[in-house]
Assembly symmetry: C2
Homo-oligomer: 298 residues x 2
């Protein structure tokens, strides 16, 4: 069975009846499960985490976008968080049994359907981007709803991937695919924050470290923390990062006390670690895991 995570961001974090209607529409439209939803009144934004089979997350996504377009008028919207539409951004994230390429196809198909059926301009981003400058969400959201209203008409670079070059009251929606992001912290048995900061710099992409690692050191108590976002655990595995931090820390006579996953993690990221450390190499197949076998039989 394939599982996708969909994380639609809606521009409504205050009116509970609107929030409820968006959530209800997504629940009704599909068998995908809403595993988390957070409404932030200051940001005036609702972030929903949905997990399910690929087509089911697609259905939930469309239902959410449709309902948000009916209930949210971007001319009335105010909030701290940058946004361009009633449904601002919708990433498809592979969890298990599906590739980023397949998620990209889902994203493109959803963007086209949203533009065709709802008349909303859509932009493709990250792995689904059709141009390098659209891989980065910030470029697409430049000027926000208010600025895009004019730019979409006049600037050829701001032309959407699908739909009209004119913003309706629902604004535009950015749809794409990205790898699962693991928020991961490693604690070191020292109160010297400089050690955490140095290691945080050394292991991150920006400074010559791992390609899919963004990291910083923080002065947490009682022990300092190397805090990171692992943006592609398949290419930059947790085990490789942990062992590198262990080696770097050893240079200062410091050891890892424990590590921390912040939020959710796909089981595959942990199975990768088990296989790495137990040295399960060529003689091993994940279908030997009872639970995987049961899922395959369904």
């Amino acid at each position: 069975m394939a599982l996708v995570e969909l994380v639609p961001n809606f521009s409504e974090g205050r009116r509970q009846d609107v929030i409820d209607k968006i959530l209800a529409a997504m629940k009704e439209a599909s068998t995908a499960k809403i595993i988390d939803s957070r409404a932030d009144p200051d940001h005036n934004r609702l972030v929903v985490t949905i997990v399910g089979e690929p087509e089911e997350t697609f259905k939930a996504g469309f239902a959410g976008i449709k309902t948000a377009a009916e209930l949210i008028d971007m001319d009335e919207h105010q909030g701290e968080h940058p946004r361009v539409g009633a449904t601002d951004v919708v990433p498809f994230v592979p969890v298990t049994g599906i590739t980023i390429e397949e998620c990209t196809e889902l994203a493109k198909r959803l963007a086209k359907k949203v533009s065709d059926e709802l008349g909303i301009p859509t932009y493709l981003y990250e792995a689904a981007a059709t141009r390098p400058d659209r891989e980065n969400l910030a470029n697409i959201r430049k000027g926000q709803y208010e600025g895009l209203k004019e730019a979409i008409k006049t600037d050829p670079d701001r032309k959407p991937d699908f739909g009209p070059s004119e913003l309706p009251k629902a604004g535009a929606t950015v749809i794409g695919a990205r790898e699962f992001l693991i928020a991961y912290n490693i604690y070191l048995n020292t109160d010297d924050v400089e050690i955490a900061k140095t290691i945080g710099r050394n292991i991150r992409h920006k400074n010559g470290g791992f390609a899919y690692c963004k990291s910083m050191g923080f002065a947490t108590k009682p022990y300092v923390q190397v805090s990171m976002n692992l943006t592609n655990y398949k290419e930059t595995p947790m085990a490789m990062v942990v062992e590198t931090v262990r080696n770097e820390a050893r240079r200062y006579g410091v050891a890892i006390t424990e590590t921390e996953v912040y939020g959710m993690i796909p089981v595959d990221a942990l199975l990768d670690a088990a296989e790495y450390y137990l040295q399960l190499n060529g003689k091993w197949n994940r279908s030997q895991i009872i639970e995987k076998k049961l899922t395959e039989m369904e």
Copy 2:
């Protein structure tokens, strides 16, 4: 969701129609899945592996025992493998979300039902044993069907836990609960089998090693192998065993090339290893795993 593995052993490995009827009866009686079934003509024995929710494995077990009793006459049975009944032995094995104690309760309930409704004497073994000498299956099977026929009537020590002190043509059935057994091999980069044999001896329970490890060294090619049965991965975790073998091997200047799980393994055994090596301690909860969260919501 709780998952149990049931591994009924039937005294029929030759007549395909009988094998088919036993399998069909178990399939029909429950939603539990038959993930493996092996009929051995020499042993004249059928070993079935069933996985499902606890009550479903219970139903499958009863249906299999009932059908085997109708179709197998132990007075006619011959085979190399020791056995006392048409259904010889039925262990309940916890896979996930269930304790060995709960599996023991299932075993006791099944044994009582089999005796009450089918008139078959039943013995409880391993974790479900009511007496220390019945923890070991070999003690219960002593003399096999032919010997037990007399002994059950005359020897008070052979009195069954449930049912009559007289064997019907279906013989007796041994029912119990045990932990999941992981067949696990570790390869060392040497062709010196003495190193594997020494390590195999040092780490096993019999020689002062791990309580739930049975191990031996073998001269496999190109590298030697420490072969083991881990009979309780919760108490004797894979990571602890691997790291001990690594240390022992280092004494001889030898390293682990890879390891091998032979057959099935519960995902929890691998998650234990991931947590051990990644040092996911107090700040970690398995409900952060997306797939576990989905299962919990069902």
